[in-house]
Every structure is written in C-alpha cells, then in structure tokens.
C-alpha cells in the first residue's frame, strides 16, 4: 500500500538528510515508496519545495533536490 502524503514527505526528507551527497535526483526519491507513481512523488517533492522543506539545485540542464540547510552551507 502506498504511503500517505505526510508519510511520503517524511520519507523523502529522511532520505535527503541521510544521503551522503546533498543533492538528489527525483528518481532517488522513488525508492522512498515503490508503490507510488513517479508523478505522485514528483508532485510531493515539489510541494515540499514550496513549504521550504526541500530546495531546488539546478545545473541549468538538470534539476536536483536538497535539504536547504545542507545545500546553503555548501553554496556559501
């Protein structure tokens, strides 16, 4: 059974906090809930950006996600 939205958000956040690299691809979050469709996970991740729990990091050609405190530290 797929996780609830709140459970999925927590799983995504945990994944982003524990990941050795601060930036993660959207596909890295798919593993947080194999039952959920990629489009659902994408929508939840983007909602977390609006809430400030995640942040986009873009190379220009690829966009990745990160925990704001981790990526801001690295950026500065």
């Amino acid at each position: 059974m797929a996780l609830s939205k709140d459970e999925l958000k927590d799983a995504i956040e945990e994944k982003a906090v524990k990941s050795p690299k601060p930036q993660l691809y959207i596909k890295d979050f798919y593993k947080c809930d194999p039952e959920s469709k990629p489009r659902v996970i994408k929508n939840v991740a983007n909602e977390m950006v609006r809430e400030g729990r995640l942040m986009f990091w873009s190379s220009g050609s690829t966009t990745m996600y990160a925990i704001p405190s981790r990526i801001q530290d690295e950026e500065h």
Binding site: I26, F56, W57, S58, G60, T62, E75
Partner: protein, 426 residues
C-alpha cells in the same frame, strides 16, 4: 576607459564581422560590470580554462526553472560578475513580438541586469545574460505583473515549447502550430516551471515536412505536419513553370543565371523515391511512394500543394550531442489528427504515455531517445501500445532480431526449447 587589458579579445574586433567584444565595450559604458565580462573572458583565453562556476540554488519562488545560476570563481578580481545568472524568458509563439514589447523588455533588463542578451537560445527562449541573485525576484515581479510574460523552462523540466510560423504565414502548414504550441504551453505549466523528469524534455511543432523549427533534430517529441492523401496538382501551373512563366522556388535563387527551368532535371530526377514522371505535358505522382521530402512543392509552389487530409507525423527521441552523440527523432506515429476541436487530446495522451514510461524507466540525465535506444524500439512500441508498422523500419531486413510472441502470430506456434537447443546452443 577599459578596466582590463584585453589584447586577445581586441583581435576579434578586427575581422569584417560584427563583434560581441565591441557590443560589450559599448554596453560597459552604461553597465560597468560588462568590463569584468571582458576581463574574465580574456583570462580564460589566456589560461585556456573557464572561470565560470555552473549551477546553484538560485531561482524565483515556486519555480524550479527559468534561471540558470552562474558565478565567477575569481569574485575579488572580477566583482562585477561575481553573480552572473542567466534568465530564460519564454518567447511568444512563432516569435512574434511587437517593438513596444521588446523595448519594454530591454528597459526591464537594463534596470535589473547587465543589458546583455542572446536572441534566441537554442530552445527558443530569450536569454538574458547576467544579473545578481537579489535582482531575480524584482525582475520576475515586473516581467509577470507589468508585461504579462513568463519564464521559460530549464533543468529537468519541460522546456519552452517552440513552433514555426504555421498557418499565420505559411500556406503549407498542415495544422495550426501556434494553437498547438500555445495550448500545450498552458496545459503543461506545472511541467515547464517545476522539474518532473529524469532530464530535459522538449516538444516542437512544425507545420509541414520542411520542418522550419528543426523539430526532428532538436525535440524529444517532434510534431511535424503532413498529409495522407495526394499532393494537389494544378496542371495549368505546371505548364507555366515548364514554360518559364513562373520563377521556380518562388524566385528565391534568382540572383544567379541558372538557365531555363528544367522540370526533369530539377524536380523529377532528384525525387528521392522516384515517384514522379511526365505524361505529355502533365506531371504525374505515385503518391503512395512519396516520403514528403517537400522538394517538388518547394520548387513549384504555384502548381503543387500538400494534400487536403492534413495532420501530423509524430517522431520521438531527438537530441543534441551529450552522451551518445546527436540523433534525429524516430518515426512512431505516421499520421495523427492534431486539432483544437478535441483540445489536442490524442497528442496529449501520446505525450503523457511517454512521460509515464520514461519517468519510471529513464536513468538520471538520460534523454527519452537514449532510453528508447537502450531498451530497443520493439520494447518501446510495446510499452506505448503501438503496433509495429513498415514505417518503423529504416530498411528491410537490416535487423532480423524481431521476436514474435505466440499470441502475435495467427494460429500461434508450438516450440520445444529443449529440442531447439540440441541444434542451436545458447
């Protein structure tokens, strides 16, 4: 007064062509940060290494695209370009601008940025080169609220869709490219502004097989106008061309004396499928052999026109060279009606079928064309629920490795794998 010595860049001004160096020097009189662009570029020419750092967290709130972060790695030496972010502004369909709109946009860019631009980027957007992080939100506010314009796509987003002039200017356009582009741009606002995919995704709309927007070379989904009945022939017009009364190619090569128009040499003999001939003074076409190269129509536009049963061919998987080199898109649907009457429903279903599959199967930074190549066309067609057809095959018998399933063959078949392996080792 120049801030940096730039002897290498100065050389570029000595050629007969207009020079971006001259443009930058002129702009630097108004925007001093442009001196630092020249300085950092001169240093890169000298050291043969870039001093730009690529990417970052910059953007405007709620958007995951449209801004490309750019920083200098020598900010103390070149403080004017410490931040030098790129902004992509979505171009209007077919790139129709009013001069008032362009002036307003340039005034806005002088106010918030360096004033340097690139018209247009290869995706089609207006590229505004160079601003600081703190200017991004004020620029975005003015752009959206005062001008009613929007940012384009970047990153792993749907990129700004692009189209040819279509039916607004062109009699050959087989569907309304502007309407299709505009409709899908509005329909996919979320995908344009927020990352959704393993990598970038583009669709482009060309009204006819001349493909003026180069969809077949540059887009993951190329929507190229075509027809499925016969080329319309006006035999009286053919006679006028043969008699030399109409200039071939619409007179576009009239600057040189090419001699009298020769329909045999200039049209019939160079038809790629050999499907045309003259019977007396009438031009005949075996339309089932026509591959829509457009040459005959381009040469004799007053005598030949695309057929009347019009729609589009859908090809998938073009890209510029990143991993495996450049590739054209592959024909998947030979003919599809592309119409506003049903809100482009069939096209939208097709695109979303690709997305659902690619989002799951595509690797990070893998374009959909590369995913198709990796899994093979038969698998892709199977996933998309499309029956294989002869048009999917480049040439007969070049790839014998088609494995039929029992249910795909009428009457099925029985196969004893143990017996088979006795004769053919694995």
């Amino acid at each position: 007064m120049a801030k940096h010595e730039t002897p290498l860049l100065d050389q570029l001004e000595t050629g007969p062509w207009p020079s971006f160096v001259t443009d930058l020097k002129r702009q630097a009189e108004k925007k001093p940060e442009c001196w630092d662009i020249l300085g950092i570029l001169e240093l890169s020419y000298k050291e043969r290494i870039t001093h730009w750092k690529h990417g970052g967290i910059v953007g405007v709130f709620g958007y995951g695209g449209g801004i490309v972060g750019r920083y200098a790695d020598l900010p103390k030496r070149f403080p004017g370009v410490e931040h030098f972010h790129t902004i992509r502004v979505a171009q209007p369909a077919s790139k129709y601008y009013s001069t008032a709109n362009l002036r307003q946009l340039m005034d806005l860019w002088e106010k918030h940025g360096s004033g340097m631009t690139n018209f247009h980027g290869s995706t089609g957007d207006i590229i505004l080169l160079g601003t600081r992080t703190e200017n991004l939100e004020p620029f975005f506010w003015d752009l959206t609220h005062d001008m009613g314009q929007d940012l384009g796509g970047s990153g792993s987003n749907l990129r700004t869709p692009a189209n040819c002039l279509g039916q607004s200017r062109c009699e050959w356009s087989c569907y309304d490219t502007e309407e299709a582009c505009h409709h899908l741009t509005l329909h996919y606002q979320d995908e344009i502004h927020r990352p959704a995919f393993p990598y970038k995704f583009k669709f482009k709309f060309s009204g006819c097989p001349n493909d003026c927007v180069a969809a077949i070379a540059r887009s993951d989904v190329s929507v190229i106008g075509t027809w499925r009945d016969d080329i319309r022939i006006d035999q009286a017009g053919v006679k006028e061309y043969v008699a030399g009364n109409y200039p071939p190619n619409g007179g576009s090569h009239a600057g040189k004396d090419w001699g009298a128009f020769d329909i045999q040499k200039e049209v019939i003999d160079i038809c790629p499928t050999d499907c045309m001939w003259m019977e007396g003074d009438e031009l005949k076409i075996d339309d089932k052999e026509c591959t829509r190269c457009m040459h005959c129509i381009n040469v004799m536009p007053r005598a030949l026109r695309p057929g009347a049963d019009q729609g589009a061919t859908i090809c998938v998987g073009a890209k510029a060279p990143i991993l495996d080199g450049a590739q054209f898109s592959t024909l998947i649907v030979p003919f599809m009606k592309v119409s506003k009457d049903n809100d482009f429903e069939e096209l939208i279903d097709f695109i979303e079928g690709i997305w659902d599959w690619w989002m799951e199967v595509g690797k990070n930074r893998e374009r959909v064309g590369e995913t198709m190549q990796r899994v093979g066309l038969p698998t892709f067609l199977n996933v998309m629920g499309i029956d294989p057809i002869p048009q999917h095959v480049k040439e007969p018998r070049s790839n014998p490795y088609i494995f039929w399933k029992e249910e795909e063959v009428e009457g099925g078949f029985e196969r004893d794998i143990i017996e088979f392996r006795k004769r053919h080792a694995a």
